[in-house]
Symmetry: C2
Subunit: 273 residues, 2 copies
């Protein structure tokens, strides 16, 4: 059953690769517009993205509320792109797209371009990466893109161009099973970007701060603030190469089993007390 | 700064291990009561848990809303246990506990007992496991506990007893760095549980269903429904051993880097177009 039938009729036919686009900053963000534009050059694009900002929602899904779906139009040179805004999380978007709204399985799913890098431990909080993980779990080659900026007015064009390059490569070569790519782009002029490097997650830890206040009725509340501390300055990490002006590509897996310590854990005598 | 100072004064002194308890079903749920009771037998317990149900929130954190903290009392034999209810996610609870509310680093953090198993791919959606992951990232030995039931009236006593056994073992032996344990308990009488097995995540996929409806103004909305399909019947997986009546212990890591495919990814000529 598909209630967004008018929009669905716009979803294109088989010749070019079908590319599903989502994000976590919301469908109105400049990052998803840049990514849609880049993907539009290499395939037929469908955008199914959150109505509102969903940063740091991780892999959450909406179980206890109904999910709304509304038509959206990017206008201008993207007015032909079928687009739907979803009242849910990035994972909801992927699930709804793949199991309800799309006619056929996309050839590629991309998420972003996130305003803000997703390196080191931030991988586990990122809605951008969770969306790409969700489509990867569903057997679709998937890539998350993030721009290392906190400024929404940053130029997303260079990262859009790299997204196009990397997406084309993945469309031609196919990713290993169970692997999703997280791409982080430095926020510098395109001609200053030194190239692409394959990396691993840096070890890191958030230095957490909670700002405690009192409301007008003298009841306490907290605001969360934090700063990411990178504990690992090795040359092969996501955060190091982005700092050095490279585009970082980190292959991530969704199997979280610590296979390397299963044998040790088995030697623990769990039954003895 | 700590605004919940009366409650904080109840936090106990150094002699016994300090155990931090949280969950994702909310502080009123029977699972966290059973876990608190079990931990109370082996250490000094502090409970800092969500005010409301937070299932399937994954690793989300609250960035754009203030977080409220309220005193809570379990009553009866647990009335001496310091407890705070938090208007946020399981991850918020851990962050706030470790960086703001507790006097000292706990010796162990436990999450649960979740109403519902967290096996196979459900690991990535689970707020219960995310809470334990968050404390593990902060260098604290952490365990997530889940009972394989959908019935809130189930008996959490057997899983509480196993939680006690496993927590004692971890307190004595210490977990490998970067590893958190996910424990799943079958919902059967305690004398029918066959023992403990160390497992890996089963391969699986959600079979997604969205139920489409129209509201009284004829606008569409969707309810999410899904069913977990286990694609992997091997003897060493979390889902298999629970089905066979064992308690499953899966070591999980939070480094999601697919280390095994970094070298292959490096052979891709990313710059060639």
């Amino acid at each position: 059953m598909n209630l967004a039938s008018d929009n669905k009729n716009k979803i294109p036919s088989r010749r070019r690769p079908l590319i599903l686009v989502t994000n976590d900053d919301g469908i109105y963000s400049p990052g998803i517009r840049a990514l849609t534009k880049a993907m539009n050059d290499i395939g037929d694009v469908v955008v199914i993205a959150p109505m509102n900002e969903q940063s740091a929602v991780g892999h959450s899904i909406t179980l206890n509320s109904p999910i709304r779906v509304e038509d959206y139009n990017f206008g201008d040179e993207l007015s032909h792109v079928p687009a739907l805004a979803i009242s849910g999380t990035p994972c909801d978007c992927m699930k709804l797209a793949l199991h309800e709204l799309l006619h056929r399985k996309p050839d590629l799913a991309v998420s972003g371009i996130n305003k803000g890098s997703n390196v080191a431990i931030n991988v586990i909080y990122s809605g951008t990466i969770s969306a790409a993980t969700e489509s990867s779990v569903n057997g679709i080659d998937s890539i998350a893109f993030s721009l290392d900026t906190t400024d929404i007015t940053s130029d997303f064009t260079p990262s859009g161009n790299y997204a196009k390059t990397i997406a084309q490569k993945v469309l031609r070569s196919q990713l290993p099973r169970g692997v999703v790519l997280s791409v982080n782009v430095p926020n510098i002029p395109e001609n200053e970007i030194k190239g692409i490097q394959v990396t691993r997650q840096a070890r890191s830890q958030w230095e957490e701060v909670f700002v405690g206040r009192k409301d007008p009725s003298n009841k306490p509340y907290y605001w969360y603030r934090g700063m990411l501390n990178i504990l690992d300055q090795s040359k092969d990490t996501d955060s190091t190469v982005v700092d050095q002006g490279y585009v970082s590509i980190t292959p991530l897996q969704y199997d979280r089993t610590a296979h390397g310590c299963i044998d040790v854990m088995k030697t623990w005598r769990w039954g003895d007390f």
